[in-house]
C-alpha cells in the first residue's frame, strides 16, 4: 500500500531537552492513525515537523512522498490541519476565515463558495457564518476550524486534539464524516486525542508515545491484547504508567539552560 506519511528516526531537541526521541512510524493511505500519549509526550512537536513549521534536529520525514524541510509547497498542499491551539482570525467572520483559507490554497472561486456553504452547513454554522468569530463559543470555533481544514480537499488530515471542547453530538457527527472521507476517498488521517474511547472507535492503527519515544504501535485490539486490558484506556495506562506528567522537569531544564546561557555570555 502507498505510504502517505513516513517518519524515520525523527529527533527534536529544544536545547538540552529532547522532545521527540528517535521516533519512526508510517501511515498507509486511507488509514486513520491515532497518535496517543500523555501531556508533553511530543505529539504536537511531531505534528509541527510533519507540517513544515518546525525543522527536525535529525531524521527524515516524507509526507505524500515529499520532504517537509525542502518541498514545503507540495507537503503543504497535501494536508489540512486542525491545530491544538486556536488559529482563527477573531476579527473576521466565519465566512471570511474560510474564504481566506480557500484563496491561500488556490481553490477556484465558484468551488470555494460552494464548498464553504456546504461545510459551514455541515458543522452547523450556516446561520452564523456572517458573524465575527470573536462572538463564537469555544466549540463553535473548533467546528469552524474542522470545516476549514476540509475546505481544499486535502489528501491527509492532521488533527491535533480536534475534538477538545466539542459536545458528543458534534464529535460523532464530525468523526462520522471523516471516517466516510477515509473510506470513500482514501483520505489519510493522523490525529491525536486524550479520549481513549474515541481512539478505540475510529483509529485502525495507533502509536503510543511517551517522553518522546514510541512505546507501542499496532491496532487498538493489538494494544489491548499485549497489555491484557479490556479497554484502550487501561492499556494506555499500563503502557505509560500512572504518574501525572509534571512540567517540573521541564521548568528546571529550562532554568538550567538559561543559567548556562547567562554564564556562557558572562565568560565572553
Amino acid at each position: 500500500m502507498n505510504e502517505m506519511i513516513v517518519v524515520q528516526d525523527l529527533v527534536k531537541n529544544y536545547g538540552e531537552f529532547c522532545a521527540v526521541n528517535h521516533v519512526s512510524f508510517s501511515v498507509p493511505e486511507g488509514v486513520i492513525f491515532g497518535f496517543l500519549g500523555p501531556n508533553g509526550a511530543g505529539k504536537t512537536t511531531t505534528i509541527k515537523m510533519l507540517t513544515t513549521v518546525l525543522d527536525p534536529t535529525s531524521g527524515t520525514i516524507r509526507v505524500n512522498g515529499h520532504d517537509p524541510t525542502r518541498e514545503q509547497k507540495q507537503v503543504r498542499q497535501s494536508f489540512g490541519i486542525v491545530f491544538q491551539d486556536p488559529s482563527l482570525d477573531d476579527e473576521l467572520t466565519a465566512y471570511e476565515n474560510m474564504d481566506l483559507h480557500g484563496v491561500l490554497y488556490g481553490v477556484p472561486r465558484a468551488e470555494r463558495h460552494q464548498r464553504i456553504d456546504m461545510l459551514v452547513e455541515f458543522v452547523g454554522l450556516a446561520e452564523r457564518k456572517k458573524d465575527l468569530v470573536k462572538t463564537y463559543s469555544g466549540g463553535m470555533k473548533r467546528r469552524l476550524e474542522v470545516a476549514r481544514a476540509l475546505l481544499h480537499r486535502p489528501r491527509i488530515l492532521c488533527l491535533d486534539e480536534p475534538t477538545i471542547g466539542l459536545d458528543p453530538q458534534t464529535r460523532n457527527h464530525i468523526w462520522g464524516h471523516i471516517q466516510q472521507l477515509s473510506k470513500d476517498e482514501g483520505v489519510t488521517v493522523f490525529f491525536t486525542t486524550h479520549y481513549m474511547d474515541e481512539a478505540d472507535r475510529v483509529a485502525s492503527d495507533v502509536a503510543v508515545i511517551d517522553h518522546g519515544k514510541i512505546v507501542s504501535h499496532g491496532s487498538p485490539a493489538d494494544l489491548k491484547q499485549r497489555t491484557n486490558c479490556s479497554n484502550l484506556e487501561d492499556a494506555f495506562i499500563a503502557l505509560t504508567g500512572h504518574a501525572i506528567r509534571e512540567e517540573e522537569a521541564n521548568a528546571t531544564d529550562r532554568m538550567r539552560m538559561m543559567g548556562r546561557a547567562w554564564r556562557g555570555s558572562g565568560r565572553r
Binding site: 507540517t51 513549521v53 509547497k73 491545530f83 488559529s87 482563527l88 473576521l92 471570511e96 474564504d99 481566506l100
Partner: protein
C-alpha cells in the same frame, strides 16, 4: 499574487473594523501637533524660522505613519499568540507572498492614518504650497510606510512575545522619530547630531514629504527619493528574510 491580495485585504478589514484603534492612534500625533505646534510657534517665528505649523506638520504626519507601520509589523507577535499566524504558515504559498501581503496591508493602513493626520494638520492651519507636488507627497508617505512596515516585520519575526515591545518603542522608534528632523531642522545643530540625522532613514522621508508640501528640500528631491526607495526595497527584503525563518 492572490495570497498577497487576500492577506492585504485582511489587514484593511481589521483596520476599518476597529474604530477604537483608528482614533486611539491619532492621540499621539495630535498631542504633538498641538503641544509643539502651538507651544513653539511664536518662538520659531521670532527666531526667523517662519511658520512652525507648516514646518512641523509633515513631521507629525511622518510620525503617525512611522508608528502605525512599525506596529503593523509587530502585529505578527499578536497573530502568533492568538494563533492565526500558524494558519498562514502552513498554507501552500511562499513566505515571501505572505509577508508581502502583510507589509502592503500594514503600509496602506499606516498611510491612511497619515492622511487623516494630514487633514487634521490642515485644519490646524497647515498650508500646502503646491498642489502639483501632492502626488509626490503621497509617494513619500507610502515609501515611509513600507520602509517601516519592513522594520516592524523584522521585530515581529524575531521576537517571541510582547516583552520586548517597550524596548523597541523607547530605544529605537522614539529616537528615530526625534532625530529625523520631524520637529526641528538640522540647521545649527551640533555636528554629531547632524550626522546622526543624516544616518536616520526617516530624515529623508520627512524631508521628502516636507519638500513636496513646501517645495523646499533640505537634502534635495533626488537624494530623498533615492535613499528612501533603496532603503524600502532593502527592508522589504530583510523583513521577508526574517519572516521566512519563523518556526513555531
Amino acid at each position: 499574487m492572490k495570497a498577497i491580495y487576500i492577506l492585504c485585504l485582511r489587514q484593511l478589514k481589521r483596520y476599518v473594523r476597529s474604530p477604537a484603534r483608528i482614533i486611539g492612534s491619532l492621540g499621539q500625533p495630535i498631542l504633538f501637533l498641538v503641544a509643539l505646534g502651538f507651544g513653539f510657534r511664536s518662538m520659531f517665528a521670532r527666531a526667523g524660522g517662519g511658520n512652525y505649523i507648516n514646518f512641523l506638520s509633515p513631521g507629525i504626519v511622518s510620525m503617525a505613519i512611522l508608528f502605525n507601520a512599525v506596529f503593523s509589523g509587530i502585529e505578527i507577535i499578536w497573530d502568533r499568540q492568538f494563533g492565526f499566524l500558524k494558519e498562514t504558515l502552513v498554507a501552500p504559498v511562499s513566505r515571501t507572498e505572505i509577508v508581502l501581503g502583510r507589509m502592503l496591508g500594514g503600509a496602506i493602513v499606516a498611510m491612511a492614518q497619515g492622511i487623516i493626520v494630514l487633514v487634521i494638520c490642515v485644519i490646524a492651519g497647515f498650508r500646502i504650497q503646491s498642489s502639483i507636488l501632492l502626488p509626490l507627497a503621497v509617494v513619500f508617505m507610502f515609501l515611509i510606510a513600507l520602509l517601516f512596515a519592513g522594520i516592524g516585520t523584522v521585530f515581529g519575526s524575531v521576537l517571541q512575545d510582547m516583552q520586548g515591545f517597550p524596548l523597541i518603542i523607547n530605544f529605537i522608534i522614539m529616537p528615530i522619530f526625534f532625530f529625523s528632523g520631524a520637529i526641528f531642522s538640522a540647521n545649527g545643530l551640533p555636528r554629531v547630531m547632524r550626522i546622526g540625522l543624516q544616518l536616520n532613514p526617516l530624515s529623508y522621508g520627512v524631508d521628502g514629504l516636507r519638500g513636496a508640501c513646501s517645495t523646499v528640500f533640505a537634502y534635495g528631491l533626488t537624494t530623498d527619493l533615492a535613499v528612501v526607495t533603496v532603503l524600502t526595497a532593502l527592508l522589504l527584503g530583510i523583513g521577508s528574510y526574517f519572516f521566512s525563518k519563523i518556526q513555531l
